[in-house]
Symmetry: C2
Subunit: 351 residues, 2 copies
Amino acid sequence: DVTPQTAKHQHLRYNPLRDSWVLVSAHRMKRPWKGQVEKPPEDNTPRHDPNNPLCPGSVRANGEVNPEYDSTFMFDNDFPALQPDAPDPGSDHHPLFQSKAARGVCKVMCFHPWSDITLPLMQPAEIRKVIDKWADLIVELGAEYTWVQIFENKGAMMGCSNPHPHCQVWASNFLPNEAALAERCQRDFLQKHGEPLLVQYARMEAQAQERVVVENEHWLVVVPYWATWPFQTLLLPRRHVFRLPDLTAQERDSLASIMKRLLTKYDNLFEVSFPYSMGWHGAPTGSHLQEDMSHWQLHAHYYPPLLRSATIRKFMVGYEMLANEQRDLTPEQVCFLLNNYKKRHILVFAI
Amino acid sequence: DVTPQTAKHQHLRYNPLRDSWVLVSAHRMKRPWKGQVEKPPEDNTPRHDPNNPLCPGSVRANGEVNPEYDSTFMFDNDFPALQPDAPDPGSDHHPLFQSKAARGVCKVMCFHPWSDITLPLMQPAEIRKVIDKWADLIVELGAEYTWVQIFENKGAMMGCSNPHPHCQVWASNFLPNEAALAERCQRDFLQKHGEPLLVQYARMEAQAQERVVVENEHWLVVVPYWATWPFQTLLLPRRHVFRLPDLTAQERDSLASIMKRLLTKYDNLFEVSFPYSMGWHGAPTGSHLQEDMSHWQLHAHYYPPLLRSATIRKFMVGYEMLANEQRDLTPEQVCFLLNNYKKRHILVFAI
Ligand SMILES: O=P(O)(O)O[C@H]1O[C@H](CO)[C@@H](O)[C@H](O)[C@H]1O
Ligand SMILES: O=P(O)(O)O[C@H]1O[C@H](CO)[C@@H](O)[C@H](O)[C@H]1O
């Protein structure tokens, strides 16, 4: 039996980007599942639906009419969680009742005029346009705001309320919790080890080849050693890059290509349009644009919820919410499955 | 218009138990929901199903036969995430590839012999028996393990895979992330402010009465000022108590009563058996039993997923996973709804 110990016995792994631990219990995939089964995504989304507010030519909630766009299309979220003019809540400054002002903007960006397409089905040149828009957004909103969070919720399972391919951008005058954590961890690492955390990590993973899902000249996608969600991946540039706008034209083309390859692997795994939440983390913006941010490395996180099939997800509930993140198979097993999806039944059900 | 500013504009609130912030965007409840709709829980669970491994007299996965129990019933989880004998994974000690041994046990505890009952429908004397078992478990497993996590996943929406009323107990030789955070935050607070965080908090909430859902002589349930999940609550003793076994007989009866009242309010809110994950946090055990733990106060967290109705949940996805926890109505509004559930439509849809 050549199965490594870590694939048979639970252990903890350290997430250096979040300064926390994940419990890896590989042997747990053996248990039968009698719980909730998800509806697979519907396959019958019409290419154009005049009642869908995200389609070209549609009327949105605020009465505006969308242009007949033929590439990407951006507009302000009609129900924003962040608005530019919120007043200070006037905290009483008691340590147990602290509040503070939050200001920002929320935008929506359609990837394509068609509702029945997804990123992996788009042409690399079309994906490249999305990437260029993302970079523009960081420049535009980053001039004013401290943090510009670009994210995509894909699939009903991930709370996405519209099948039309789109992402969101929420910019804020504060560093969100997760950004503050990534900031602190990367800063401490550089100071202690003399090299940016994710630059070193990408180099080591490229060499080890144990957790690499796809790679090309400029980019690397790995199932991180500390992955929490079953099929979580981390997309990293090989070069040291602070933010999306710093990417060269060549790196952007190469990014479009690797995104397409990664997302195709995801779709192949369970033969379903793979749900996930993904988002970009780059060096903070706003007043931080003037600061030394050499500890930062641009990266994207992919957090997909599926565990065993197109309809069986991982629930991050009781123990995970109250005690510790926990996963049911190892990152190395997951990487093998993504790269050999035809063998998934053997591995997932018989570890 | 007497609506407070905080109910109209987004702001951040500080969670002193987790040292993080939550974005409160009350105005967001106005948006229409076109996303995933959940199946309400089925109402036709049979009282006894000989094929359900949790029922009295049933055969479990390992071949054992359950006794004909008539109160609570405990057994070892047949598919444990934690086992007592896992070997050390043998980390190579590189800062980016750190792992360590994790040992523990996982148990399941049935609350009642019937499958078609839930805690709020049980008699207080029956709930009291559950509480006594919880306390016994902390004594028994706490003698060896550092952390004993008691938790209940209720409802298919919360990943619960068996409708029979039960909870789980996962004990570990390490302090899980959430426990370590609660430990640090409470320790720092006592040192800085001279009083245990949650003892002071309970006193102040009892006085303010703005977020109190239910209370009695010994206990208080509030929608915490920093609640993340829409209808999240925090159950607190009024007296300073370290761990469940320290509760007096009177406090246990009183706890059974307040749990029944809280869970009945939850069920009334959307007229459905309310899904949630809940769990107990008390002072760490094992070697910590000999240490000064005066910064700790026993408490239980209730994390329910529903947002607007029995079938519309809050999704903690893109922005929440990648940037910051976010809620769509204020804790004060939620407290009002729990206490005046007949008015819920007015408030939820017309803030
Ligand atoms: O043990 P169960 O109830 O089968 O499983 C449920 O609770 C566990 C502990 O929170 C989670 O790890 C699982 O993802 C969830 O489905
Ligand atoms: O804005 P949407 O897509 O309607 O909403 C979705 O994403 C948001 C940002 O992650 C979440 O706050 C919502 O809970 C989720 O349903």
